[in-house]
């Protein structure tokens, strides 16, 4: 059982590192989209002060949202790494990771359905494929993390029970 626990902890440590890596990649991707993707003006009327303020608030809210998202993912990754090294951690990060993985799966399915409905253009096929591969990898990592974390907690509890 000790051997199995050490193995699971090692795997959890690696998965935690993977989640952090995907989080950092998501952060870089978001920044690059915000900075590089041109936003074409669509409004026919000149923007009023109220509209500008609304946009500013929206942007702020978006930033807060993304910060929360990345922050939570980093928390999951770092908690998994810490538990992988033998430190005691609560179950909060596991529950958050479980929610994340559910939302990820749901969003992935919706994106897939939308892509098939709207069709794939030549330019976006390779981009979409690459994006899918990264998304699937991120999903699998998060799910594996949940299962492995639960296994580590179960084995740790059993070990403590036998001591």
């Amino acid at each position: 059982m000790e051997k199995e626990l050490r193995h699971s902890r090692s795997v959890l440590h690696i998965l935690g590192t993977g989640v952090i890596a995907f989080t950092l990649w998501g952060f870089v991707k978001t920044i690059m989209i915000l900075l590089l993707v041109p936003v074409e003006p669509t409004a026919s009327e000149p923007a009023s002060e109220a509209t500008a303020a609304g946009v500013a608030i929206l942007v702020l809210l978006l930033l807060l949202f993304f910060s929360l998202l990345f922050g939570l993912r980093l928390y999951i990754g770092m908690s998994a790494r810490a538990e992988g090294k033998g430190e005691r951690r609560g179950s909060a990060y596991v529950m958050i990771a479980f929610l994340f993985s559910l939302i990820q799966i749901l969003l992935f399915i919706l994106t897939l359905v939308y892509s098939f409905k709207t069709g794939f253009s030549e330019r976006t096929v390779s981009e979409t494929a690459a994006g899918f591969i990264v998304e699937i990898s991120s999903m699998v990592t998060m799910e594996e993390l949940v299962f492995t974390a639960m296994k580590v907690k179960r084995l740790t509890k059993q070990m403590r029970g036998t001591e």
């Binding site: 000790e2 051997k3 199995e4 050490r6 193995h7 090692s10 090294k85």
Partner: protein, 388 residues
């Protein structure tokens, strides 16, 4: 192991085994020389390059890690510092490459240890010293292989030093850092090791580099997960292992002298060592980076006189001054012959086990001479009656 064990402790073992003071000094000198006889050293003497028993850090930095380079590295390190335990070990669910490396893992009391001792039996004190170095290193360097391999020699963050305290046994995580210039900090548990390299055949993954100098400290007790172990924990108790190494050296040297009829594996002459057991154990358990002072003191007690410190240049003048045809009869000449014989024996054994990590080996006595010119010396030495 370090100079404290290879030089001074080997002298003590030789005296307990019955060798005279002069013989003991020759034996311990040869044992320590194994850690210093590099190609650079041989080039300075114009000696045979094939007799190299070690590689300096600077040589390793320049060493190639292609197929030929790896074979060259493996020949040296597996022959003298990481003697393979079982060249026919069974490995489940492993490819040929992994199996070959797994079979080079060093442990004490392997068949090659007996062959090493047997090889030294009919040769001089230089061969005895060389054999004692190889034997002692099988205890210190257990569970590592003398070939660059990440999947065999790597360690990770699961590395704990075990210490006895009034409250019982405590574990302290070992902190590794790559700082060869700084001394290991025993108090804070900070040790130097080689840098982690993803490349399977990187020099950093040679031997026990990833565990730093811990295997060479006689006081160290630690547990870790070796890369080959499948998450099985290995507990290394150096004080006990080093004591067994000492007793086995005494036993081996008594056999070589003829006091014991046969050399059997897993046999230790604890009886002869008993009068000094307490003193030896206290030296082995003392937390210090270098135990030369303590071992030297014990050696001087056994000798009844002062022991000279190791001097690498001691026999060099004799070798340089000798005529070309007489060089093999000098002290260093005999050491070089012994080194080539040992390397030849181990490389041949590895090759015969269908493992090409040490390269090809030709039985020159049967098939005629081929290959490295330096090994002609072994053939001539054999014909000239250097060994019976």
């Amino acid at each position: 192991m370090q100079k404290d064990f290879h030089y001074y402790a080997t002298y003590c073992a030789a005296r307990i085994a019955g060798y005279s003071h002069d013989e003991g000094m020759e034996i311990c000198y040869s044992a320590q020389l194994v850690d210093l006889c590099s190609r650079t050293f041989l080039a300075g003497l114009k000696g045979p390059r094939a007799a190299a028993t070690t590689q300096l850090q600077l040589e390793l930095m320049d060493a190639r890690t292609d197929l030929v380079g790896l074979q060259d590295i493996t020949r040296i390190w597996a022959s003298f510092h990481f003697l393979p335990y079982n060249l026919h070990a069974k490995v489940n669910h492993a490819g040929r490459r992994y199996r070959s490396k797994y079979r080079l893992i060093c442990r004490p009391n392997g068949a090659l240890v007996a062959d090493t001792v047997e090889l030294a039996k009919r040769r001089g004190t230089q061969a005895v010293g060389l054999a004692m170095h190889v034997l002692a290193d099988t205890w210190a360097h257990s569970n590592f292989a003398g070939t660059p391999s990440l999947v065999i020699n790597n360690t990770d963050y699961y590395f704990y030093e075990l210490r006895q305290s009034p409250d019982g046994e405590t574990e302290r995580p070992v902190r590794f850092r790559h700082n060869p210039g700084a001394e290991d900090d025993l108090e804070r548990g900070i040790y130097s090791n080689s840098i982690f390299q993803w490349n399977e055949n990187s020099i950093m993954n040679l031997g026990h580099g990833r565990a730093g100098h811990l295997p060479d400290y006689s006081f160290a007790c630690y547990k870790y997960l070796p890369a080959w172990g499948g998450y099985e924990e290995i507990v290394k108790d150096n004080p006990t292992d080093y004591y067994r190494a000492f007793c086995q050296m005494v036993y081996a040297m008594r056999y070589i002298r003829g006091s014991v009829p046969a050399f059997e594996l897993d046999s230790y002459d604890t009886e002869s060592v008993a009068p000094w057991a307490e003193e030896i154990r206290s030296i082995l358990q003392k937390r210090q980076l270098d135990a030369c002072g303590d071992w030297k003191a014990l050696g001087e007690k056994l000798a009844g006189c002062a022991l000279e410190d190791f001097d690498l240049e001691k026999y060099q003048a004799e070798y340089r001054a000798a005529e070309k045809m007489k060089k093999d009869e000098t002290f260093l000449g005999r050491f070089f012959i012994a080194a080539m014989a040992q390397k030849s024996m181990v490389t041949n054994a590895i090759f015969k086990s269908r493992n090409l990590l040490a390269g090809f080996s030709v039985d020159y006595a049967e098939k005629g001479f081929r290959g490295i010119r330096d090994y002609r010396k072994l053939l001539e030495n054999r014909k000239g009656g250097g060994e019976s």
